[in-house]
């Protein structure tokens, strides 16, 4: 009984952690979609591609880990994370470029122009890339239980509970975002997107430091006494904006650089939006 409970609790925590990151991202994108008038059907495409990617990555993890003198895993993870950060940057650029409008109607009310496709493609990329990495971790964890049947039920139950909590949290976030009044609705979604991109950038920096491709730098601060990374709040903050109790200088630098990059993208997008078609 004891071991089953342990496996169940482990599964809850692990699946919850991985689900939370992806689910929160989907919520924010969905909230922005309301403004962009895009139907959320693209989620299925993104999630399917993400699961496929996760299967491929998990299947080949052993071979990938051997690449580049044993640091292939860090390299691929960093690549995925940087790709997500760049996708989000481009997305924010387009958001400002097209002033959050994706359709243009003529005087008779007929649809003249729609650039929804580019937004949808980008969102599919973001979700698929994110799910590839996190999904692979989940699959590798779950795969460890298939030879042994005893704890399989506990693992499945725990995973279901963890997934459910993650899903609920993202639904709450979605409704919270969509119900914010006035200009802050758009702003808060953009801020969350920017924080997510920064999170990806700093995680990528961490992976490369682990691979010894980037130099080790001292931790800039230690806030583990305030909010421990082990605590519930710590995990939540990690999922939302990449909270780290002891971030290295390179991590903080990457984080700030990503925020600056997103800010520049937004500014340039704004400047070009004056004479745009939409």
């Amino acid at each position: 009984m004891g071991l089953e409970l342990v496996v169940l609790l482990n599964s809850v925590i692990l699946i919850l952690q991985e689900t939370l990151e992806a689910a929160l991202m989907i919520s924010v994108l969905l909230a922005v979609n309301v403004r962009l008038q895009i139907k959320p059907i693209w989620i299925f495409c993104g999630v399917t591609l993400g699961i496929m990617g996760a299967c491929i990555y998990a299947y080949h993890i052993e071979a990938v880990s051997e690449w580049l003198d044993g640091v292939g895993q860090e390299f691929i993870n960093a690549l995925l994370q940087i790709a997500i950060a760049l996708c989000i940057t481009l997305y924010i650029y387009w958001l400002f470029r097209f002033k959050g409008q994706t359709k243009q109607y003529d005087l008779d009310g007929r649809l003249v122009y729609s650039n929804q496709v580019q937004f949808v493609l980008l969102m599919i990329c973001i979700i698929a890339l994110g799910l590839t990495r996190e999904g692979a971790e989940v699959l590798l964890y779950l795969g460890g239980f298939f030879p042994s049947s005893e704890q399989r039920f506990s693992m499945a139950a725990g995973s279901g509970i963890g997934f459910g909590i993650g899903l609920s949290s993202s639904i709450i976030l979605y409704y919270a975002l969509v119900n914010i009044p006035g200009p802050w609705r758009f702003r808060s979604a953009v801020i969350l997107l920017a924080l997510f991109a920064a999170n990806m950038a700093s995680q990528a920096a961490l992976q490369l430091t682990q691979a010894d491709w980037l130099p080790h730098t001292q931790a800039l601060w230690d806030s583990s006494s305030l909010i421990s990374e082990r605590s519930v709040l710590g995990h939540l903050f990690y999922a939302i904006f990449g909270y780290e109790a002891t971030p290295s200088a390179i991590q903080v630098g990457s984080y700030v650089a990503a925020i600056v990059l997103v800010g520049i993208a937004a500014k340039i997008g704004n400047r070009f939006s004056a004479g745009s078609k939409i």
Binding site: L14, I61, V71, G144, S248
Partner: protein
């Protein structure tokens, strides 16, 4: 030595002294520590390393199931499939205790890196 001024001689002497202090590190390469995962446990569960030195951890997973080596204090996270090994760089670290665990089986797979003040 008669080629150089007195100031240059002193500088060269200091350079040679400083280089000799670090030469052992430069020539020796990164120290390697091995950890094994067996039955969801780390062997050894405690490793001691000197402060201020970059260390290469070689983690060998002898189990058939994957494990994820993770540490909040060390800021390291890596999945190691069954019957394979992984390389993880840590440090240079300040003296202290840095726990690590296996994220897939955290109740049993626990270890600690103790950084000694040398």
């Amino acid at each position: 030595m008669w080629l150089f001024h007195k100031k240059d001689q002193a500088f060269i002497l200091w350079l040679v002294l400083i280089l000799s202090l670090y030469s052992s590190q430069l020539l020796a390469g990164t120290p390697v520590f091995e950890i094994e995962i067996k039955n969801h446990l780390f062997y050894p569960a405690k490793i001691e390393i000197p402060a201020g030195v970059k260390i290469k951890l070689r983690v060998k997973n002898l189990d058939s199931t994957s494990e994820e080596f993770e540490s909040y204090e060390l800021n390291r996270e890596k999945v190691i499939s069954g019957h394979s090994k992984a390389t993880i760089f840590i440090g240079p670290l300040a003296p202290g205790r840095y726990p690590f665990f296996g994220e897939f089986y955290p109740k049993t797979a626990q270890g600690i890196v103790v950084v000694r003040d040398d």
